[in-house]
């Protein structure tokens, strides 16, 4: 095998070629990872400022208050800006790039025994397009108009007239391009570059999740790109795709051709944004599946059912989008259809979650940090999913629509759900990426407070929402009669949010400390079966493996009776 001589070939790369404009999927994965973690932290800080405002509407924001004018408190339009940017950054610049860009890029080629992605240069282009999109999005804070303030959903007609939206749209076009390039690459890599013997049903659950996710990104993002182009036309070319005739703004009829439809935006937007929910959750389910199998020392219960459920989830996610639009008056027939599909799509999610719970049965569970996060994911995602059911039925959705109940619901899915899974993934694969183990003590110090405070933030949202408190109120409902009984919860949630921020400090310390002085990890510190653990830690630049990879087993052969050890790596005969 010529891998050794080849790793020598690459020694003459200078720093910039090796770490900045690299085409190695591992470097690009790490670039994605660091950038998106920073964005997550930034998005979180925006939320912390908003939460301060909600709990103490008349008190100046501490430390950063000077940014918001003399009073130090947020003006309503500043609050809206932070809200819009929090959503946009968390979803498009934080969670998706971390789940698909970082984890997908780093692990998919390793888990299928490939030397790199199918199109390494396209991969780099995808990261840099994401980076440019991120820079443009950040720059909007410094524009004279300020950052976008029409929510991450950018509903017209408001978004056509509000400041800052143009920059948001331009940035989104870069981010969409990045997603398209990245996900195309992942699909081709999985189809074409699987190692000999790695048949479809031998693929790990994580690779399956990335495969379905990539299809969702490839097929669902372009309609949003189309919508973004139309909205850009509305803003810069004076068209009226999303503006109805006779629209009155500040007492005057808006001078446009008219006959446009604000509903059109909502359809195009949610056609992306509902599959996007599954883009957020599927990679998380993949990561959790890996970690559960490894730490229960058992195969995933009903592996095939999980795979088929993921595929079904993927298909079905394209026909549920209008359950976000029950209040738009689109009609009974439409509502009935989308209610039905929404109830149907909950079935595969429940199948997956049930399989994961059953996987725990009778396992000799190892409670290490990745496992704790993965275990916490299950009930948290469960709460998020189950609270979604009343939102999927038009009758109950009419009451709950746009209240804090909705905020609580999707944050349970994404924050203690997906983000916990991503944390689990970071703890689990850190030894592979760096060759060092992370500190268990600090890991537990990160996990337990995070679990507590996540619930401290989001559980009261259900109570507030059921009481009828609307989202996007800059004063947190102070001027809202039926909010008065539940308003005191704001202080509790804000305190939880700040403590959640503090709870991330052990994580940051852990990453830096382990990088320099962590315990050395061998190739396979967790006694895992999947292919990536056959590579050295960290894997060799550009070639990954130091031996020829051939796969002989399905992905989770743990505790096979009569086997020599309690795990049989896929690459061992």
């Amino acid at each position: 095998m010529s891998s050794n001589s080849h790793s020598h070939d690459h020694h003459d790369e200078n720093f910039i070629q090796k770490y900045i404009f690299s085409v190695d999927h591992k470097v690009i994965g790490i670039q994605y990872g660091i950038t998106s973690l920073l964005f997550l932290l930034f998005g979180f800080s925006l939320m912390a400022i908003m939460r301060w405002q909600l709990a103490y509407p008349d008190t100046a924001v501490p430390i950063v208050g000077f940014l918001f004018g003399e009073s130090g408190t947020l003006a309503p339009e500043q609050y809206n800006s932070l809200g819009a940017m929090h959503g946009t950054i968390m979803i498009f610049l934080g969670v998706v790039p971390l789940a698909v860009g970082a984890f997908g890029n780093y692990l998919v080629p390793l888990q299928i025994g490939a030397i790199d992605m199918a199109f390494p240069k396209l991969n780099a282009a995808s990261y840099w397009s994401y980076f440019v999109g991120g820079v443009i999005m950040m720059s909007s804070f410094f524009m004279p108009e300020g950052a976008a303030r029409s929510g991450w959903t950018s509903y017209p007609p408001l978004s056509i007239f509000e400041n800052g939206q143009t920059v948001w749209l331009i940035s989104m076009i870069f981010l969409i391009t990045s997603s398209l390039l990245g996900s195309m690459n992942i699909i081709v890599t999985i189809v074409q570059l699987r190692a000999p013997g790695l048949t479809w049903m031998r693929l790990s659950i994580f690779v399956w999740a990335q495969f379905v996710t990539s299809f969702l990104l490839v097929l669902a993002f372009p309609p949003l790109e189309a919508a973004a182009i139309l909205q850009l036309m509305d803003r810069v070319a004076g068209t009226s795709f999303f503006l109805p005739s006779g629209l009155v703004l500040s007492g005057e009829i808006v001078d446009v051709a008219g006959y446009g439809s604000p509903l059109l935006w909502q359809h195009l937007f949610w056609f992306l944004a509902h599959p996007e929910v599954y883009v957020l959750i599927l990679p998380a389910l993949g990561i959790v599946g890996e970690i559960l199998a490894n730490n229960t020392r058992k195969p995933i219960w009903g592996f095939k059912s999980v795979v088929y459920s993921m595929i079904f989830l993927g298909f079905c996610s394209f026909i549920v989008w209008a359950h976000h639009m029950f209040l738009t008056g689109m009609g009974q027939a439409m509502s009935a259809f989308f209610q039905t599909t929404t109830m149907i799509i909950s079935i595969p999610s429940v199948v997956i979650l049930t399989s994961y719970f059953l996987s725990l049965w009778g396992g000799s569970i190892r409670f290490n940090t990745p496992m704790l996060f993965a275990l916490a994911f299950l009930p948290m995602f469960g709460i998020g999913g189950l609270t979604g059911l009343p939102l999927g039925l038009a009758a109950s959705d009419i009451y709950l629509h746009d209240t804090y109940y909705v905020i609580g619901h999707f944050h349970y899915v994404v924050a203690p759900g997906t983000i916990f899974a991503l944390f689990a993934g970071i703890y689990y694969w850190f030894p592979k990426i760096t060759g060092k183990k992370m500190n268990e003590m600090l890991g537990k110090l990160h996990f337990w407070p995070s679990l507590l405070f996540m619930n401290g933030i989001f559980m009261p949202m259900f109570i507030q929402g059921l009481a009828g408190v609307s989202r996007r109120l800059a004063d947190g409902g102070e001027s809202y009669a039926h909010a008065s009984g539940v308003l005191h919860l704001n202080e509790f949630m804000t305190t939880s949010a700040f403590l959640l921020g503090i709870a991330q400090i052990p994580f940051i310390i852990n990453i830096i400390m382990s990088l320099f002085s962590g315990e050395k990890a061998g190739r396979n510190p967790w006694d895992a079966t999947t292919v990536e653990w056959a590579a050295p830690s960290p894997p060799l630049p550009h070639v990954n493996f130091d031996s020829e990879i051939e796969v002989y087993h399905s992905s989770y052969e743990y505790s096979v009776p009569d086997a020599k050890k309690d795990f049989t790596p896929q690459t061992e005969k």
Partner: protein, 199 residues
């Protein structure tokens, strides 16, 4: 070490990487134009009866017919260019690729005259919803034409075509993939022509 299946197909999938890649890219393109065509339908239903047809009558059907023929010819010459490479006839490839380039250039010139004649009659995207979707769809299609032309010029000029000497199979594959993209752009126009000009 090179990424495998760039030149030779993988046995069990029967595909080279770039061909699968371009098909998936085209699937996403279908969703992009599909989104815009759906918007067209949505807006047409929302507009007063006859409004779209009245505005569509402002467009020049003869020019668009010529453009349709020009684009179809360019698709044919694109296939011929690829076939010439398969037959290892590089001068023929240069000729056919040149014809394709010429056709796409003619298409853009005609499009330019169509646009400017609208502007000179003070018809802009903001004039009506039909004009808005007309300019958006044809503009986006025009950008796709320009994108294809950039790649064609690169493969036509010596800078890109010198790959023919070192790796003829890889070069042939690249032209084939470019061709698939080009046929798609052509196909989009085949849909745009009746939807915008004739309906």
């Amino acid at each position: 070490m090179e990424v495998p299946y760039i030149i030779k197909e993988r046995e069990d999938t029967g595909l080279i990487n770039s061909k699968l890649g371009i098909w998936i890219f085209l699937a996403s393109e279908i969703m992009l134009f599909g989104g815009l065509f759906s918007a067209y339908i949505f807006l047409r239903l929302a507009a007063p009866p006859g409004d779209f047809a009245r505005w569509a009558s402002e467009l020049s059907v003869p020019l668009a017919t010529v453009n349709t023929l020009v684009l179809i010819s360019s698709s044919v010459s694109m296939v011929m260019a690829w076939a010439s490479l398969k037959l290892k006839d590089f001068p023929k490839y240069k000729m056919y690729m040149g014809i394709t380039l010429l056709c796409s250039f003619i298409f853009l010139v005609i499009k330019y005259f169509e646009y400017t004649s609208k502007f000179s009659h003070h018809i802009y995207p903001s004039s009506s919803t039909f004009m808005a979707i007309y300019f958006t769809l044809t503009g986006l299609h025009g950008i796709h034409i320009i994108g294809g032309m950039i790649v064609m010029i690169y493969f036509w000029l010596p800078i890109g075509a010198k790959m023919w000497d070192s790796q003829p199979e890889l070069f042939t594959n690249r032209v084939e993939v470019l061709g698939l993209y080009w046929h798609f752009v052509d196909l989009v126009w085949i849909f745009l022509f009746p939807v915008l000009y004739l309906l």
